[in-house]
């Protein structure tokens, strides 16, 4: 240490505010340096000489201060008193014990809130639902049937019992664009469409059996125009419903239309009904021709033969019947059946004209509710009654 540095630390050395190292260095320097030593000694002597005696404050000084303090506390306005209380409480809050206790409580509280019971460890959960469910219009869109005219499809769909106005399916999720997914979607679409057709057919059959013939007629018409798998059958059933509801004049064109079709399964049935209608309407010539055609079919041959006999018995038929008689096979006089088709039925020249019972057909779906019903034809076993009656329960015209 040199004199200049000694001068800087002189006051600290004099009032003992130096650290040990600096004080030792300063002391060593003052021991070696006369000037600095004399400086230190003179200042130390001055300090000792000028130490001022302290005067005691007057008596009662402390008590007056405490009294003033008490007055101040008693006259403290409530906001300051509240602030003082807060200060006092915050002073307690700053204690480490309280801080640790608060931290512990916070940890326990957060654990109780965040910890959940394990699955199955709690009791049964009751879920209640209120309000009206809304359709997810954004996810479900109606699918239009491409083959059905919209005007015809709409009433059909609406008349199908329980059926929705539009069949719906889920939209494919974004990103599913590969072929496999597309084929899967198309398959599901076909299944959905087939199911809807079956449902519509069952509904129409239910209407038919319930005697709601006009409704059934419309529903079958819709199915026929839709061109699905039940199209041909629906056309025939629509014609039958028309016949029962409105009579032969209205139904004849429908039967003819079916008879002109390609589905042999339904052509003969339609021809049978057409012939009977013509018979009732007095068009015996055309009726006889149709019955003649039916003689070639195993199912309707016997019934057609009896119908022709009836026409002949009442003197109708004319040259057509004569021509037909030539081509007709001989009938067994006992059984009344032809040699080709032994069975129920009278001879062409029978004793009494028995009513012709039309072939009975019934949808299998009515019995087993199968999705795709088919016609079931039942050939006449006995002599049919005079009047043409359906095998189904007698429908009532609406």
């Amino acid at each position: 240490m040199d004199c200049e540095k000694f001068d800087r630390v002189l006051m600290d050395l004099l009032y003992d505010e130096l650290d040990e190292v600096t004080r030792a260095a300063a002391t060593r320097h003052s021991d070696q340096c006369r000037r600095c030593r004399e400086l230190l000694v003179s200042h130390r002597a001055t300090r000792e000489s000028t130490s001022l005696p302290l005067t005691e404050p007057p008596d009662g000084f402390e008590s007056r201060i405490m009294a003033a303090e008490a007055r101040f506390r008693s006259h403290l306005p409530w906001p300051q008193r509240a602030a003082r209380a807060v200060t006092i409480l915050s002073g307690y809050a700053m204690r480490p014990q309280l801080a640790m206790a608060a931290l512990l409580l916070l940890t326990i509280g957060s654990s109780l809130i965040l910890l959940r019971p394990k699955p199955g460890s709690h009791g049964s959960v009751v879920v209640t639902e209120s309000g009206v469910p809304q359709k997810e219009d954004s996810l479900i869109v109606p699918i239009e049937e491409p083959a059905v005219p919209q005007a015809a499809a709409a009433p059909a769909a609406s008349e199908v019992a329980g059926a929705e106005p539009h069949r719906t399916t889920e939209l494919p999720a974004p990103g599913r664009g590969d072929d496999l997914e597309q084929e899967k979607g198309e398959t599901e679409l076909d299944l959905t469409r087939s199911k809807a057709e079956d449902d519509a057919f069952n509904v129409a059959m239910a209407s038919y059996r319930a005697g709601q013939l006009l409704t059934a007629q419309k529903q079958f018409d819709v199915l026929f125009h839709a061109g699905g798998k039940h199209s041909a059958q629906a056309e025939l059933l629509a014609a039958q419903a028309t016949e029962k509801a409105l009579g032969c004049p209205e139904a004849l064109a429908r039967f003819d239309s079916v008879a002109a079709g390609t589905s042999q399964e339904y052509v003969n049935t339609a021809l049978w009904h057409s012939a009977n209608c013509r018979k009732q309407m007095g068009e015996t010539k055309r009726a006889a021709l149709d019955f003649e055609k039916l003689l070639q079919t195993p199912v309707y041959a016997e019934a057609a033969k009896r119908a022709l006999n009836e026409l002949e018995a009442v003197g109708e038929g004319g040259p057509v019947l004569a021509e037909a008689r030539k081509n007709r096979a001989p009938v067994d006089p006992k059984s009344g059946s032809t040699s080709e088709h032994a069975g129920a039925g009278g001879s062409l020249g029978g004793k009494a004209a028995s009513p012709v019972r039309p072939p009975r057909f019934e949808s299998k779906t009515a019995a087993r509710s199968a999705p795709a019903p088919s016609l079931e034809r039942t050939p006449p076993k006995k002599a049919p009654p005079a009047a043409v009656k359906p095998a189904a329960p007698p429908p009532k015209a609406q």
Partner: protein, 192 residues
């Protein structure tokens, strides 16, 4: 102070008991009037009571306490600025023969020697006169150091100056007092 902030009045009583003498003397050296000094000293402690909630323990209590005392002294001196400073020989009361400030601050425990008592009284007068001649900033530092016994760092905080400045002021004050003492030594030598 922390205990008093939590509402412990005994802690405040301890604070008053511990600091009242130094605070009172610091104010008395500044104002030179015992009555005014007593009022100001009480006001200092009352300020402590009033502002106890504001004390954040960022500084030492003594620093805060002497900052209040210094500010009150400055305010009081400013109010008394037009007044003439009382002399050490000025009577403290109405009695012209009564006690003076010089006699009030002299050594209360003089030796039995009459000569020594006389010399001590004369020395105190010399010292007080020498202190009166000090510039106010040097005198202030001297009082804070010698009466309040504050370290230089705290004095710097109380006076809002640098620590080296405080040390320089203290050194100048001591050197001035040293000159006054030299004169007194010469005077005492002449007396002998």
């Amino acid at each position: 102070m922390a205990r008093y902030q939590r509402g412990d009045r005994d802690a405040f009583a301890n604070l008053v008991r511990r600091h009242k003498t130094k605070v009172y003397n610091f104010i008395l050296r500044h104002l030179r009037n015992p009555s005014t000094s007593e009022d100001i000293a009480q006001e200092v402690f009352l300020r402590v009571v009033q502002k106890a909630g504001d004390f954040k323990h960022e500084a030492r209590f003594t620093t805060w306490l002497y900052t209040i005392a210094r500010n009150l002294c400055i305010d009081t001196q400013r109010k008394q600025s037009l007044r003439k400073h009382p002399s050490l020989d000025q009577p403290l009361g109405d009695d012209p023969e009564g006690r003076t400030l010089g006699s009030n601050i002299e050594d209360r425990h003089p030796s039995s020697s009459v000569e020594r008592s006389f010399v001590s009284g004369q020395l105190a007068g010399y010292i007080m006169n020498a202190l009166d001649t000090l510039p106010p900033d040097q005198r202030e530092v001297f009082f804070l150091r010698e009466i309040a016994n504050l370290p230089f760092k705290e004095i710097a905080e109380v006076t809002a100056t640098g620590e080296n400045t405080v040390k320089s002021r203290m050194r100048y004050a001591l050197e001035r007092l040293q000159g006054a003492l030299s004169e007194f030594e010469d005077y005492a030598r002449e007396l002998k």
